[in-house]
Every structure is written in C-alpha cells, then in structure tokens.
Point group: C2
Chain length 212, copies 2
Amino acid sequence: MHFNRQDIANLESRRRASFVNSLSGFKSANLVGTADKDGNTNLAIMSSAVHLGSSPALLALVIRPGGEERHTLSNILATGQYSLNHVNTGIIESAHQSAARYERKVSEFAATKLTPHWLEGYQAPMVKEAHVKMMLELREHQTLNINATHLVIGEIVQVELPDGALADDGSVDMNVTETVALSGLDSYYQPQQIKKMAYAKPDRAPKNLLSE
Amino acid sequence: MHFNRQDIANLESRRRASFVNSLSGFKSANLVGTADKDGNTNLAIMSSAVHLGSSPALLALVIRPGGEERHTLSNILATGQYSLNHVNTGIIESAHQSAARYERKVSEFAATKLTPHWLEGYQAPMVKEAHVKMMLELREHQTLNINATHLVIGEIVQVELPDGALADDGSVDMNVTETVALSGLDSYYQPQQIKKMAYAKPDRAPKNLLSE
C-alpha cells in the first residue's frame, strides 16, 4: 500500500489526522498539569514529550496553536512551571477525557476526577494518581515558522516515583509504573518488555540481556 | 522516591542518561536511512521522532550534537532527504546495533545485515525489512540555543505500508505492523492494545470502543 504527498493531502481531514499521527510510531502519554496566576488548575493529555538532553535534564513539548491545549500553554507562559505525569493503566479514561474542549473556568481535574497534588514552592499541580510525576521549569519557548506550533522546552526539577520503580541501571521500570503508550489519537497500549539490549559497539554482536 | 534537580545532576553520567531518557515515557523506535552525495548509505536508530502536524504531514527529529548520529545529520543536510522506518519485533537486534559508533566508511546497512530499499527519484534508502517506511524531505533545520541539539523538521512525502495495516479510522494498526516501543536507551517493548477511546467531549463520559 502506497501513499504519496498528494494522496495524504487528499484524505478527509479527520482520517488524515489519524493516519499521520500514527506514522511516527508509539508515543508517550503524559498529563500536563498547570495553573494560572490565581491558582485555577488545568490538565491536558499530550503525546509530544521528547527527550532533549540529560545534563541538564531537558524535555520538549510540541503544542498545537489553538486547540484544547491553549489554556495549558498560557498557564506555562504565565507561571513558568508545569508538571508532567505518566498516564498509567488505571487512569486512561480520565486522561483521555482531559482532551475534551472544556471552558476555561472548568478544571479538567474536577471534570475527570483526578486529584491535584501540590509541591511546596511550585505553582503547577501534579496528578496524585500518576505513578511517575515530574515538575518542570520553562527554559525556552518558540513558535515554529513552518506551521505555528509551539515548542516548549523545560528542565525537570523534581521527580516523584514509587519505591521499587528504579531498574538496576538507573532507568525507570515502566512495568512497575504501569505507564501506557499511545498510538494515533486514541489507542492506548500496555507494553510488554521483550528485549533489553547491551550497549552497541562496532566490534561486538548485538546481545539481548533478558533471559528469554 | 524523590529526586530534585541536584539529585539528578549528582547521578553518575551513564545512570543519569538512563534515568532521564526514561522520564518522558515510551518512545518511538525508528531507523533513519540516509546517503551522502556519492550514495554511501547510513542507518541510525532514533527515538526522538515527534508529530508536528498532519496538513502538511510534518515530523521533527531531535539529533544530538556529535554522537553516533552525526553522519545522519550531515547526510540529511547534504541531500535534503531521509527515510524513517518503524523498528518491528523481527529486526530489534539489527536496529539496536545501528547505534554503534561505526567509522564513516562503514555502512550500518551492511554491518547490521539490513537491506537498502530505494525509491526512484530519491537519494535516501528505506529499510526493506521495515513494515512501515516513509520518505521525508527536509523543511527546516535549527540548532537549539539551550543545549546545541539539532531540530530537524521534514515533510512526509512517501509512505509504504503492508496491505491490511490501515485501521477503519485511517490510522496505522501497529498490531499488524509489529511496531515496537522503546524505553530509556535499550529496552524494547511489544505493546498490546488495551483501549481505543471515543473522541472526548465535555458533555459525554469517556467511552472505550474496544469490546473487552
């Protein structure tokens, strides 16, 4: 099956969004928690978090112009802070519902029955029910010329994890945290680990470290 | 378990990379195929593809300064073209091995026993063994001020999929394509779909469309 540029452009818009959103492969599913200057909270599911570097620990978010995420962006720009919280198998329905286009005065926390979790000294709420919670501080914001999407770069300044969630190598064990993956716009997956590969070197054959 | 900014900075560098690389959640696993002006091929696994928009169909890649990905970047800048190919369950070892720091004259295709698949009129090879193959044309390149990583934005101009890989809504069915997800630097997962959620609206309860 083959699609060229014109075939993609010719797709009906909702179908095209479903198609193109699935082409990058599996995506992360995170709830982004923010508040405005008066403490009114907002929560939005996002699948665009991308690792930029680990020293300092930087993540980028791609935020569309307009759309359901506009309140999140204005809160981030107002307070300079936002939380990122992994969606887990137990909160998929609430997380997905946060994408509905609620009015500004409605908090998605209340609408989706998720609980704000505040850290002293920060103006953005984490999600109590998430097993992996992070606080970020805004470091850079730009609007991309090509299609007016926003690139929001933040530094991870606080991380909360369940006991037992760190693997031997220092990574987060997502089997323990029950983190889910997203494909397209609406399909939620529970990943099963099948391989853990040794560090790749030119003079060594690839090696799976998991006993199979 | 709690980590603040200083705790993260204090981690040994390899541990810190494993930790921070897993904080964004699950990542896509794609092989990026390129060639230089003389047709010498290169292949690199990347987990940083992120959806920017579907009309036109745009994807961004984050590429670290230096590192194993430097040949990929110079090829993209030289030819303006690159392929993106989903890693599937059958090619994990080869895909992971492409991250080894081979010398410039060594093609990772030969070193990892993957096969270049050429489309007429394009200077970048796809990966024959991949079930989802895309060709992209470079649209924008910038170096991020904050940590000198490269942001490479391309438009998807060709897509090849196996028959039967399109779901009813137009998305790619990753159960069919056997696409894998990555966590951290080296852990490969086979995701199992657990929910497909109806479009979220403020006045409607969240609804799972999969019969359970």
